[in-house]
């Protein structure tokens, strides 16, 4: 078991180093891309388009473009995940939600968020956000004691006790490592190369992962997922329904959401 983990770490490191140098998504490239329409608009003399280009630069910043060389494969996994959601996850979450009152599910969610503290703490430190590391620690201590092992969330009332959560994928992002390319993971959903490695990093930082035998952490994670889904039923359906190309809609939403989380 131990040897396995070490090989996994070294594997991810090699992978990471390999792709760190190969980054199609560095800000320079996207800046060039956004400046292209300006040149063409000089020729077509379209004031309208020029305005729009200015708007985009002004408000949206460089648009992160994430390549998708595995698109066909990704679309297949996307279809599988969709099927899995409607045929397994959603019915289970529905049934669970039916027999478990919402306040209880909220407490379970609080508990899981609270024990995810090591992920946030280590990544705050790695991103040199020491103040947030302190705030997060205060929150953990406060909720673990006054909040009875984290089931209650008395810290919610104090905004300074609720710094935005950091994870390993975000740490890589702040270090300037690009997304790599887009991947749809089975069961987990949208991700990128960088964030998939980040996900593995988060797993190492989660004490639950170290419980033997392996099916205990697996069961715990599955339960957490069912609980989470039961609290956000219809969120997936809503986004899917409002999309004209659901695959692209989820991809873009994921990239935008992650980009925002890195900025925070």
């Amino acid at each position: 078991m131990k040897v396995n983990r070490i090989t996994l770490i070294s594997f991810t490191l090699v992978f990471l180093l390999f792709f760190a140098g190969y980054d199609p998504n560095c800000p320079k490239v996207s800046a060039q891309e956004t400046s292209l329409p300006a040149k063409t608009s000089e020729e077509t003399a379209s004031q309208d388009e020029y305005d729009e280009w200015i708007d985009v630069l002004e408000e949206e910043g460089p648009v992160p473009y994430v390549r998708d060389p595995l698109e066909r494969f990704n679309r297949a996994i996307f279809t599988f995940n969709d099927f899995f959601y409607f045929k397994a996850l959603k019915p289970v979450a529905r049934g669970y939600g039916f027999i478990t009152p919402e306040p209880v599910r909220v407490k379970v969610k609080n508990f899981f968020y609270n024990i995810g503290y090591p992920i946030r703490f280590v990544n705050d430190i790695l991103q040199a956000k020491f103040k947030r590391a302190g705030q997060g620690t205060c929150r953990f201590v406060f909720n673990s004691t006054v909040g009875v092992l984290g089931f209650f969330d008395p810290a919610q009332k104090y905004s300074w006790l609720n710094p935005p959560p950091e994870d390993t994928g975000q740490t890589f992002g702040t270090w300037g490592i690009g997304n790599g390319f887009y991947i749809v993971l089975p069961f987990f959903g949208p991700s990128t190369l960088r964030n998939s490695i980040g996900l593995a990093g988060d797993c190492f930082l989660q004490p639950v992962s170290y419980i033997n035998p392996f099916y205990i952490p697996l069961g715990v994670k599955s339960y957490e997922r069912v609980n989470e889904t039961s609290l956000s039923i219809n969120k997936y359906e809503d986004l899917k329904e409002s999309a004209l190309d659901p695959y692209t809609a989820f991809k873009d939403a994921y990239i935008q959401n992650r980009e925002e989380a890195i900025k925070e």
Partner: protein
């Protein structure tokens, strides 16, 4: 003589934040009053019955049309792809996309239960555009929803909604880009027609 630059800079320093804050106040007021009007209708117990849902929807539609500038949203969502459309196609697209967005937005807000809305601050994005932060607070979570508004012809109008960091306009733009890579504007129009018609059957 020596004093003049100091006085000028003092005036500038004093004047700048005032004008900026007056503008952000305007943006914040616009979003707050619009959303509050929507909430009043949503909370009105007279519309709790299933039969009055359509009446409520009609009332909401009027308010939402004031809140959002659909032409601006369409223009931004299509971006450079507009060039591929003929004027007739563009007109039809504009109408369809407006109806599509409206129906989706109304579907979402009509499901509203007793969530609380907390208004955050407004920040200027450029000289006539601002972003207003709001938060929807439920028992289990907080959803940040920011409205981007533009001041034009002496009034504020919304041109983008950012939910959990995801800009609606940018999301649709990426979809249109993707679809129009392989398909024609006519195909996209047909897809939108199908979507809008499907949306409207259950509400009739």
């Amino acid at each position: 003589m020596k004093r003049q630059p100091i006085i000028i800079s003092l005036i500038l320093i004093l004047a700048l934040p005032v004008s900026a804050s007056a503008q952000t106040d305007g943006a914040l007021d616009f979003v707050r009053t619009s959303v509050d009007k929507v909430l009043t209708i949503l909370r009105n117990p007279a519309y709790k019955e299933e039969s009055t849902r359509e009446v409520q929807r009609q009332k909401l539609r009027i308010l939402v049309e004031i809140l959002f500038d659909y032409d601006e949203i369409t223009r931004r969502a299509l971006g450079r792809n507009r060039k591929a459309f003929t004027p007739e196609q563009m007109d039809e697209f504009s109408g369809l996309f407006t109806r599509f967005l409206e129906e989706i937005y109304l579907d979402r807000i009509q499901d509203y239960t007793d969530e609380k809305i907390v208004y955050g601050k407004a920040t200027m994005l450029s000289k006539n555009k601002a972003e207003v932060e709001t938060n929807i607070v439920t028992a289990s979570k907080q959803i940040p929803i920011n409205y981007r508004v533009v001041f034009r012809h002496e009034e504020w109008r919304g041109y983008d909604v950012i939910i959990e960091g995801v800009s609606l306009v940018r999301n649709y733009r990426s979809q249109f880009n993707k679809i129009l890579q392989k398909k024609t504007p006519e195909d996209l129009l047909q897809q939108l027609r199908d979507k809008v018609n499907k949306e409207e059957i259950p509400t009739d």
